[in-house]
Symmetry: C2
Subunit: 530 residues, 2 copies
């Protein structure tokens, strides 16, 4: 039962939602965003000559292991697929990275995955595992002619325990479909992200995805209870525990969480799904400075405590792009330098309303927040989330987007945006509001509660004279502030050369030893991570 | 401000707290619990002849690295310490495992730890790292003459960020002292366990300790943000991240969480401390059957949702022992087959009171719970917790206690207690209420929310004819129910031979490879885990 918010008459005047006109977010195709002719990022590693080049004999071998409809092979390797058919597997979501694979395999069982990998390992054939291909660091597409091993046909739910909330499923299940499945049983997936309609749970685990509910439900290192992983030599590591607690030896599954498909191929996942909150509230607030954003965050944690499930922020540039490209109207009375989205999720609607309404009153009275809108129903909640989740797509539609995903201590988190804007201005490449310059926007949004900034630079095209202004500067900046050069997106191809900015030599040395232990021939997702 | 509970007049009649007369729990000495003459557990592995036996030349080397007051060496190795002085380092908390180390080193810095390990590694000297020595599986004491490397002098807090709640500290800090420290700053440690007054945070991490707040704050795999680890060759792996999100390469620190000191020595820990709840409520309930315990748990999760912070249970045998040895009076009107402790922790006292009181009313009305007591103040809360946390100590005072810590799916979790009692009865070793038999009690308690049972068998002494009745039966039983033979206590020496009941051969094979990777000479905590 929906209980009205205390002092709602007071709040109504100050918190209102504009007539949002956005439809449902749709899954993007790379081709919708960018021209295929645009320049690829530089620094592509040379092909490792040790890897075998596929022949028709290899294709025949794969045909003996797999149903024919699961194989896409071009004439170049003795198949009959049009190379255009392979385009979606060769290019990443942002069309920033593109490989030239001639073969895509889409196995339907863990055993088929094992058979494929054993053959590739014996024959020194390089393989790139691919989930929903929604990554942002070039980790899920081939660099050269690696075989694409798509997990999309491994998409069954294996079991669900409604008492404990433990879900066991194949790696290729789509996150949103899993969330719908557990929602019908009163639970929620412990992670949520903009790509939920396309990304696979296996890919989420392989990249240790964060997302917008991290603040509430924490890391996948805590939520994942078990994994089934196929190693390059075809060994199936069955660690599909359904137990919350299991202290029997080294927790090997943890190594695969965030290893980006370079140590083994995740084929099965079991994880804990929390109870679905009975009540969800969302408010969008207008804030005059980044300092006030921090004050609002501190107060929100104090007042809303255990029900605070998201605290997101974005700047005026992001808001401009998302309102324009999603044809939304600003729900607030005027424009602000910063916007905050607060979400609460709890088990008792009237308690949650009271906590949030006290917080909002306090924020208004203390003039931390200048205006705000409080969603009145699920539809308004969805529209408010579009303002935040629609930002990446809107920036992508604005131009070629350089994306950096960094962790920085909260007090200085937004400073990097200004510092990079200044460098671009000094180089004559950017001037705020001047659309004739090569760089159109330098902007930031992200998850305050997790110290996680998404720094985006939108240019007319990707070009070295722009890139060189902020690379490796951005990594040096993050290192000097003891941050992480990849908060949640991972390393992939994009950041492999920059790993040293966040990890010491001994750490990188041991990462390489771990890689050699599990993948001694280096066939799995080569050129990535370490 | 304390707000009275809704319908408190109704509740007062049904929920009341007896006049508990317990004092503060004290840290136990092994000698208080058991005679030193009692039989040690069988199956001690043979000493590895490859390990060097210490000489006075080695002691001289250690003296050149460390302040003399940090070295305890017996005359047998050229020192002057009385072997009795080393007793506390050689024997475990339960006096079940005992080594014969002649040398204890208590370094004061990470560099000293590195110097010690490098020397030991070069000279093939076996080492057992030791924290608070409160483990229950023989993991923290020598098996033979390993050098004891005690972390107790590494006990400084390195830093605390009150905005993010991130704590960085040395491994030898005592858990309770850390909790007091962060409590003063409005936060709480994300784990709590009976041994908190003695155990070290480094040991907690090394054993992936669970405890009573696991239900709320989850696993250390999620809470630990960074580690500093010294490898056997003296390499210092600095992974002391202070960030919630850091996806830069393989998450190596995860391997050391739960590795029980066999891969490296943890010297520093950083972890996330949640905000301390403003309101805590505790109730103890009397329940007529294990089925009703489950019904109560399900309802508690529905009604209390995000504020439920503990749901513990114990049986009548445990209650009898704890009331007797702690001189407590049962707060309920009569005896029950099962008792449940419910704790809520939240940010708003009146909201929490309302949620809990609705739950308790519903449980009483549905006759799930027959009687209950609700703590009215902090002192009563502490006494109720003593009823649960005092169980291990009370059973220890009752006799020689065989302890099994297992994960089992909730519906069949308590069945193992009855099955083992039946086997002991059939062998003539046990009859309920008959104190003349070798086995006095077969009982169970634990964390329902985590599917975690502590199965305890209390006998007059440890002897093979008793042990053989339930070992390996208990492990086979757990395996057949897809449980874990160690939910939170770890493997140590006790369960190394039984690891196969919870992990497959390929998993154990890769654990051994990981061990060889980090500790190729096998000097670190030998004879344990794998």
């Amino acid at each position: 039962m929906l209980t009205s918010i205390r002092n709602s008459s007071v709040l109504t005047a100050q918190f209102r939602l504009g007539a949002c006109r956005v439809g449902n977010a749709t899954t993007l195709k790379a081709s919708q965003l960018f021209s295929r002719k645009q320049q690829r990022f530089a620094h592509t590693p040379t092909r490792n000559a040790g890897f075998k080049q596929l022949t028709s004999a290899d294709i025949e071998q794969f045909k003996s292991m797999l149903p024919s409809e699961t194989i896409l092979a071009t004439p170049a390797v003795g198949g009959s697929s049009d190379p255009v058919e392979l385009e979606g597997f060769n290019a990443d979501w942002l069309n920033k990275y593109r490989g030239a694979s001639q073969l895509v395999l889409r196995p339907k069982s863990t055993q088929e995955v094992a058979d494929i990998l054993r053959y590739c390992n014996e024959n020194q054939i390089a393989v790139v595992p691919q989930g929903g291909n929604t990554g942002l660091v070039g980790g899920s597409v081939p660099v050269h002619d690696e075989v694409v091993l798509s997990l999309r046909n491994l998409n069954k739910i294996r079991g669900y325990d409604e008492v404990s909330g433990v879900l066991a499923c194949d790696a290729g299940c789509v996150l949103e479909e899993l969330d719908n499945y557990v929602a019908e049983r009163g639970h929620t997936m412990p992670l949520d992200l903009g790509a939920k309609g396309s990304c696979h749970i296996g890919g989420n685990v392989a990249t240790n995805a964060g997302g917008i509910r991290f603040l509430r439900y924490g890391s996948l290192h805590g939520s994942v209870l078990g994994l089934e992983v196929v190693l390059p030599d075809g060994t199936i590591l069955d660690n599909m525990s359904l137990l919350r607690k299991d202290n029997t030896g080294y927790d090997l599954k943890q190594l695969f969480i965030g290893s980006e498909g370079t140590l083994g191929v995740i084929t099965g996942v079991s994880l804990l799904t929390p109870r679905r909150p009975a009540a969800v509230n969302v408010a969008v607030l207008g804030v005059s400075s980044y300092e006030q954003v921090q004050v609002a965050f501190k107060l929100a944690r104090q007042r809303c405590g255990e029900i605070l499930s998201a605290f997101e922020f974005w700047d005026a540039s992001c808001m401009g792009a998302v309102l324009h490209h999603h044809a939304l109207r600003n729900p607030l009375s005027s424009e602000f330098p910063f916007y905050v989205l607060i979400e609460t999720s709890g088990s008792n609607k009237s308690h949650d309303d009271e906590k949030l309404s006290e917080l909002l009153e306090e924020l208004m009275e203390a003039e931390v927040v200048e205006d705000g809108a409080l969603a009145q129903d699920d539809s308004q909640i969805a529209k408010m989330w579009t303002m935040r989740e629609g930002i990446p797509e809107s920036l992508g539609k604005t131009g070629a987007t350089y994306k950096y995903d960094v962790s920085i201590p909260i007090p200085v988190l937004y400073d990097v945006v200004g510092d990079i804007a200044s460098r671009l201005e000094a180089a004559g490449l950017y001037k705020q509001g001047d659309t004739t310059r090569p760089v159109k926007l330098v902007c930031g949004y992200g998850h305050i509660g997790d110290s996680n900034l998404h720094l985006n630079i939108v240019a007319d095209k990707f070009q070295d004279k722009v890139t060189d202004i902020f690379e490796p500067f951005v990594y040096e900046w993050v290192q000097s502030h003891r941050g992480s050069i990849s908060a949640e997106h991972g390393i992939g191809l994009m950041k492999r050369d920059y790993l040293k900015y966040s990890k010491s030599s001994p750490m990188i040395d041991y990462m390489k030893r771990i890689k050699s232990l599990f993948d001694p021939k280096g066939i799995l997702n080569p050129y990535k991570v370490v």
